[in-house]
Symmetry: C2
DNA sequence: TTTAAGGTTCCATTATTTGGAACTAGGTTT
DNA sequence: AAACCTAGTTCCAAATAATGGAACCTTAAA
């Protein structure tokens, strides 16, 4: 699938285990794997050694390893919009009192990187890291709409176009038409296209050069809210998105000036600080 | 460092980028890398192709890629205690009104997988995924204390023994003595050993066979609380830890009965659902 | 005790990785 | 403007690691 030599293949195996969503036995993996028994076995060994997988000897099952949680922490901090956007999300959700989502595009899908739920407590990882379809969510369409021509076509061709509800735009043509509307309008709607009873308004987060950095949305249920209400909040959304974009650009720029002075007095110097 | 063929080396590179904590240029990586230029270059290409790294062409910098966030979501859900422990944490933090941490051991270090902060809103990934030292935190010591002999020795030898405060137990001998106390007492203290002004009580989460699954702690500042107060909460901690362990065992057991019926009607069937 | 299925190891073959050196693109000094 | 860096990229023969068919365990049932 990915190619990319041994590392790519190993990642495919990792993805496969992750896709099961629960501990899985060797045989189950083998059945669905393009690799012969011995090869798959060795990959699982390697990944387990690397603690990218965890092996439960009692049940003889593999599951995705916690080392990933650690790496993800770094990823979330250093290459997602989340740390930059945090204060803005706090302010926005406090002001409007509805659920706010921050998302980015990953491999043609919507990756939620942060969330504010005004009423209930936040659901941690269960939301950050969650993925959703791009063609039938507010944030997804807001991001797609402002993608450069070529990239947009590529991503549109990747979508699954599953019909979640009877509002879902389940083919590239109607989606493309909708995206044009979004560009002129400046924001996207989700009209119960993904889940019945759930509507949303979303805007893209774009750099000064117009590059799509992410998306921001307000979500509500049809019981509590409607599009008139949501429309009233669009200015707030826009302002927040712009503020996030501005901060993102301010953060990125000065980075390359100082040459890597690997702070050795840090709390947990990668491996260096640990005896081996 | 890790060995394990090509995949291991690639992971080392990934770790190296993660350790920088910010976007990093090729040259900076090369300086600190055991690999020759061409080799490092190819690894970075491969990892970038795999979206495990993200490359910013403008600044020519690499950072950890968001694909990891996605994988971590799976890891957190399927092989951490967090999803099982969630309701218990909610109940505990609600009842006692102090900060509660849920942690697991990863590679001799404390990996925080969830947190409840009774007063302030939860800080998402900034806490889940965070790592800390095992030898000078409450959860760390609680878990170390109940490790099997051999594993304990191995992990003790891995610690960095940095003296964070003048309370830090900064050598294996005094740590080992303390661990013995923890075993008889049944719970661990952090007496400002990691951060001045921060104290905590922690218990291990152990399976019915005594295996250490994780750790649970209550943290407070010396201004608001003291060990007398914390001691009063230990029974609650214990009960919660036991409940989590019980649920964890109940969840694991029936897993291997049903043979992999890869749900194809799932929302996002890994790649299968997407045209390629 | 035999059979079977699931898992693990072996090892000659095959394919990938390796890294020194040569090359290219920007930017800076002479 | 030419020479000269420095940082990043490509090439390719040699070295190394991955491959997978088959044999071998090990546990659970017949």
């Amino acid at each position: 699938m990915s190619g990319d030599g041994t590392v790519g293949k190993a990642m495919d195996v990792l993805d496969q285990v992750a896709a099961f969503g629960r501990p899985v036995r060797f045989g189950a993996l083998l059945e669905a794997s393009p690799f012969p028994k011995a090869t798959l076995y060795r990959f699982l060994q390697t990944l387990t050694n690397q603690r990218l997988l965890a092996y439960d000897p009692e049940h003889q099952t593999y599951s995705v390893g916690v080392r990933l949680v650690r790496l993800a922490h770094a990823a979330w901090n250093q290459s997602s919009l989340a740390p930059i956007a945090r204060p803005h999300l706090d302010a926005l959700s406090h002001k409007i009192g509805l659920t706010v989502h921050l998302a980015q595009l990953d491999h043609g899908q919507v990756l939620y990187v942060d969330k504010r739920n005004a009423t209930q407590p936040i659901e941690m990882f269960s939301d950050a890291g969650k993925i959703g379809p791009a063609y039938c969510t507010g944030v997804g369409k807001a991001m797609l709409a402002f993608l450069p021509e070529e990239e947009q076509s590529r991503v549109l061709a990747q979508q699954s176009y599953h019909r979640f509800t009877d509002q879902t735009l389940a083919d590239p043509a109607s989606l493309k038409a909708e995206l044009a509307n979004i560009v002129t309008r400046g924001h996207a709607y989700d009209r119960e296209e993904h889940e019945p009873g759930i509507i949303c308004t979303a805007v893209p987060i774009r750099s000064s050069k117009g590059q799509v950095l992410g998306g921001l949305s307000i979500t509500g249920s049809t019981r509590d809210t409607d599009f008139t209400k949501l429309d009233g909040l669009v200015p707030d959304l826009r302002i927040t998105a712009q503020a996030i974009a501005a901060d993102a650009e301010a953060w990125r720029s000065p980075v390359h000036l100082s040459q890597a002075t690997n702070d050795t007095d840090k709390v947990q110097p990668k491996y260096g600080g640990m005896k081996q």
